[in-house]
């Protein structure tokens, strides 16, 4: 229900919305990420649910003003449960011509477009490759949208003229002006951002004051100028009671690992080599020296994983983090961890491939690499995170499995959830599952030599720490004799060891929770089976379709190797199974092979997540087909 408010002699229509998608688009240097995250945090503090999607170019400073240099930040916030950053934008903020060109096609019909007209001069239009003489602000391109043309650059200059700052610094504050304007438009408080600016620029008062001034100027501009007659009201979300924080996937992965190490009473060692989009995990963990976290920036990806294997061998929780190309380089070393049965967590923040591919874009095309990418029979457990906050649980679970089952574990996240953020009702440290990472201190073979590969009922070998008297033994990459671990080239023994290592990984399925139906009936006509970061879009699509009367269900996998024991039974109850993936059908291949069901593939490999709408259209199409 929309209402009318009258304030300061101005009549404003207030539109009430359940959720709103805002997209900030500008040049890499325009501060769009900061603007977006300030808007996001303010919404979160107000109590709205939300999901974000930052998108940046692969180049650090692509030529200014070009489409290649556009940096975008998308946030979907609302009073209902939000699982995706949204398909289309209600509001597009375009700081320059390139920003408009790059993102106009995703603005909703009738949506609001706010442009900085200073970014639409001849030079900017040329850089964005608009045809000579064409200007989208004047040629009818934007008819059908509500367009707010603001000369932000000029207004900021006017507002800050008496600050004594140079033109460059003044121009840098234009994102704050825009943010202030949006705060007015969405009836949000400026307090959070003022606090942020004060903290960040406290030591440079002139910059601090200029930013706050620009922010207020933007807010006041909305309030006093006659042309802006629409505001939006979005209520607080009905989220489960509790204490929340905002978190990105990479941040969640980092602290999940810290928590796992501490719960297991082990030191955390990260061997890593910088790579987009995984580096933020390295950055985050590097801040925790005081907690004994050791981060080692290695000379390359191989050194990174091998140092982590060495650390694990010496008694730490060894972790390595990377993305597809780096993971490919680490594969041989993962084989070493498989055959030596050394605990290790390998985090793969997937990005578009192959090769350098799309470094800053998202993809799920490393699933088969994760499960089958090594030479020889080299099984290892693989788990996949579904949302930014889920990265915490999955990192913790990956470490638990690695330590309790003496195996390398791969955790798959991707660029979408790694950089995206959401509100997180974080757990207390006490509530975290215990992790049993005991070392043996006495021989398991009294009277004889210690048997490093004598297994327990789960097929797990004992973990030792070098420095323990009487347990001296050698491990290595050569095939080993059962129990003694001595080098053995015996053919029958090799086959036995291959089976033992496989059985150990298979048995992990005994200790993980069963598969369940997330939304819908357990015998629905169609099951949408997903894994990883497609969770939000699938959940939203399926729930909306159920509300519209369709018989569809959603099952989502965290454990992709081994599968949960009951997964076959769960899937068998549906008439059809459809698998949306950001690849050419990798999970579908595994599901078809294992359960012999004709799973229907639905694939998108554009470096972008599925939209809810795409999924809904496809689901309805399948439901309506025979």
């Amino acid at each position: 229900m929309d209402t009318i408010e009258k304030k300061a002699g101005k009549t404003v229509e207030v539109r009430h919305a359940e959720n709103v998608v805002v997209r900030f688009s500008g040049d890499s240097g325009d501060g769009m990420q900061l603007t977006g995250s300030q808007f996001t945090d303010t919404s979160a503090f107000f109590g709205q649910d939300l999901s974000t999607f930052p998108e940046f170019p692969a180049e650090i400073r692509a030529p200014a003003g070009t489409v290649a240099g556009v940096s975008g930040f998308q946030v979907n916030f609302g009073s209902k449960e939000i699982y995706t950053p949204g398909d289309e934008y209600d509001v597009l903020v375009a700081m320059n011509s390139a920003g408009l060109k790059s993102d106009l096609h995703k603005v909703k019909k009738g949506g609001i477009i706010l442009v900085n007209t200073a970014g639409f001069d001849k030079k900017n239009l040329n850089l964005a490759k608009y045809p000579e003489g064409a200007n989208p602000l004047e040629d009818g391109t934007l008819s059908g949208f509500t367009v707010y043309k603001i000369d932000v650059t000029k207004l900021v200059k006017e507002a800050l003229t008496d600050t004594g700052l140079g033109m460059k610094e003044i121009e840098r504050s234009k994102n704050m002006f825009v943010l202030g304007f949006l705060f007015w438009m969405f009836d949000k408080s400026m307090d959070y951002t003022i606090g942020f600016i004060t903290e960040k620029f406290g030591k440079k008062p002139e910059i601090m004051n200029a930013n706050i001034k620009a922010l207020r100027a933007g807010y006041n501009y909305g309030e006093t100028t006659e042309i802006f007659t629409t505001r939006w009201k979005v209520d607080v979300a009905k989220m489960p009671a509790g204490v929340y924080r905002q978190i990105t996937g990479n941040h969640a992965t980092a602290i999940g690992l810290i928590c796992a190490a501490e719960k297991a009473k082990l030191e955390l060692f990260l061997g890593s080599y910088p790579i987009t989009p995984a580096s933020d995990i390295l950055h985050e963990l590097s801040k925790y020296r005081a907690n004994g976290v050791k981060t080692f920036q290695a000379e390359d990806e191989i050194a990174a994983i091998c140092s982590a294997i060495g650390a694990s061998y010496a008694g730490a929780l060894g972790v390595t983090t990377s993305s597809g190309p780096g993971i490919a380089l680490k594969m041989e070393a993962m084989g070493l961890a498989v055959i030596t049965e050394t605990p290790l967590v390998v985090v793969n923040v997937q990005r578009g491939g192959p090769s350098t591919g799309l470094p800053t874009k998202t993809e799920q095309a490393d699933l088969l690499q994760a499960i089958h990418g090594r030479h020889g029979e080299a099984p290892l457990p693989v788990i996949a995170a579904s949302t930014p906050a889920d990265c915490f649980d999955c990192a913790y679970e990956a470490a638990r499995i690695a330590l309790e089952h003496m195996t390398p574990v791969m955790l798959l996240t991707d660029g979408y959830i790694a950089n995206g953020s959401e509100p997180w009702k974080f757990p207390s440290a006490d509530s975290l599952k215990p992790i049993n990472a005991e070392f043996v201190t006495e021989t398991n073979n009294p009277g004889g030599k210690f048997l490093p590969y004598k297994r327990d009922e789960r097929g797990v070998r004992p973990r030792t720490k070098p420095g323990t008297p009487g347990l001296e033994h050698r491990i290595g990459g050569l095939e080993k004799q059962d129990e003694t671990g001595n080098v053995s080239y015996d053919s029958v023994n090799h086959e036995k060891m291959v089976h033992l290592r496989q059985a150990k990984v298979d048995k992990i399925a005994d200790s993980i929770p069963p598969a369940h139906v997330d939304s819908g009936k357990e015998n629905a006509k169609l099951c949408v089976l997903g894994w990883g970061s497609t969770a939000g879009a699938i959940k939203t699509a399926v729930r909306e379709l159920i509300a519209e009367g369709h018989d569809v269900a959603h099952v989502h996998l965290r454990y992709v190797n081994p599968f949960q024991k009951n997964l076959g039974e769960v899937l068998a109850k549906f008439d059809k199974v459809m698998i949306p993936e950001m690849n050419l059908g990798q999970l579908a291949m595994l599901i078809r092979a294992k359960y012999m069901i004709p799973a229907i593939k639905f694939n998108k490999v554009q470096g972008l997540p599925f939209t809810v709408d795409e999924l809904k259209v496809k689901i309805v199409e399948i439901l309506n087909s025979k």
Binding site: D41, F45, G47, A237, P240, A241, G242, V243, Y244, R245, I255, I258, C259, G271, Y288, R289, A290, N291, G292, K294, F296, A298, E299, D300, I302, A303, A304, C306, S307, A308, I309, G310, A311, S312, Y313, A314, G315, A316, G318, E332, A333, G335, L336, P427, S428, A429, K449, K465, P466, G467, T468, P469, G470, E472, H473, R474, I475, G476, G477, N486
Partner: protein, 344 residues
């Protein structure tokens, strides 16, 4: 109750031999190195359980299986990385890295240089036989240019590395060279390497009787050894020859051989100074082909040693500093972060 305490029985070389059959080729130089390491270890005063051997891939790297200590036989070229992780985690461990010229200088070349500059406390024994043995006889990055092997039937066109120059160039803090066929010298160098607080790089000339037999006989065999080897001793003049009749002095940066026969004075000879990096580089550069007339002798012993903080000590110092400055952050604080809000 008796108040007597019995001193722990001193270990012997045998205590360090594992129960595995040693499977190098008959006559391989690796046997001699294994024997010297096992002989020296009882004297090093390290609890046996604290030794860790880490090796890569190649004939030399099987060494790990023959020591009755903790050990990891890792993957090709990467022993330096595994060993770095071990030392970063536990500074009580006495870490030995066993590698060959192919493992260290070719596939592991990147890790080799980075280990040197980081200076983890690791004893690095590189067995140099100037050939790939385990893959049956291809030339290595240490092989002489022109060597005819299975992969270079017309002779290699690769210029070889000078491993010691590479190590010093990569900021190694301890650089030495020894010989498989000189047990005493090996023991001396191994002990010196063990005393070093940092990465101690020891190149050991090692004969491969199958694929590169006699590569170092000029330096190891009685007939030529004294004429061709220059044994370095800290603080002593550089003298060599069957009857110590040659000395070396420096003409600017150029080493020059002087004749000491007939009792000529040793004044003005180059006095070896292990702490002089520039001179160590000149010594490492004495790498002439012994077939060339007027060549310099090949030096053996400790070329260079420098005191520099190890990576792991600096890392722990940072941890201690961070703990002292801000203290450990409780898990609940890490979980909540700085900014939270409450939904009632």
């Amino acid at each position: 109750m008796s108040t007597e305490t019995t001193a722990p029985v001193k270990k012997t070389a045998k205590d360090f031999a594992s129960d595995q059959d040693v499977k190098w080729c008959p006559g391989c130089g690796d046997y001699a190195i294994l024997a010297q390491v096992q002989r020296v270890f009882p004297d090093l005063n390290v609890p046996k359980e604290n030794y860790v051997f880490v090796s890569g891939i190649g004939c030399s790297s099987r060494f790990t299986y023959y020591m009755d200590t903790f050990g990891v036989h890792s993957i090709h070229g990467r022993a330096a990385c595994v060993a770095s992780g071990v030392r970063a985690t536990n500074r009580d461990l006495d870490v030995w890295l066993i590698s060959g010229d192919g493992d260290s200088l070719s596939i592991g070349g990147n890790h080799f240089i980075h280990l040197m500059r980081r200076n983890f406390e690791i004893k690095y024994l590189m067995f140099n036989n100037q050939i790939y043995g385990l893959t049956k006889g291809q030339y290595s990055p240490a092989s002489e240019k022109g060597i005819k092997t299975k992969s270079t039937p017309m002779g290699s066109v690769d210029e070889p590395f000078n491993p010691l120059e590479l190590a010093i160039g990569a900021k190694s803090t301890f650089v030495a060279r020894s010989l498989d066929r000189d047990p005493k010298h090996q023991q001396f160098v191994i002990k010196r390497a063990h005393e070093h607080k940092g990465t101690a790089f020891v190149e050991i000339y090692q004969n491969c009787p199958v694929f590169n037999d006699g590569a170092f006989f000029t330096y190891t065999e009685k007939e030529t050894k004294k004429e061709e080897c220059l044994f370095l001793e800290h603080g002593k003049p550089l003298i060599f020859g069957a009857n110590n009749e040659h000395g070396i002095k420096l003409d600017g940066l150029k080493p020059v051989i002087v004749d000491l026969s007939g009792g000529a004075s040793t004044d003005g000879l180059w006095i070896h100074d292990e702490t002089d990096r520039m001179k160590a580089m000149i010594l490492a550069g004495m790498f002439d082909n012994p077939a060339h007339a007027g060549h310099m002798p090949r030096p053996f012993g400790v070329f260079y040693q420098e005191k520099r903080a190890t990576y792991e000590d600096d890392l722990h110092a940072q941890i201690e500093e961070a703990k002292a400055k801000k203290g450990k952050t409780p898990l609940d604080k890490i979980l909540s972060g700085d900014k939270t809000w409450v939904i009632a």
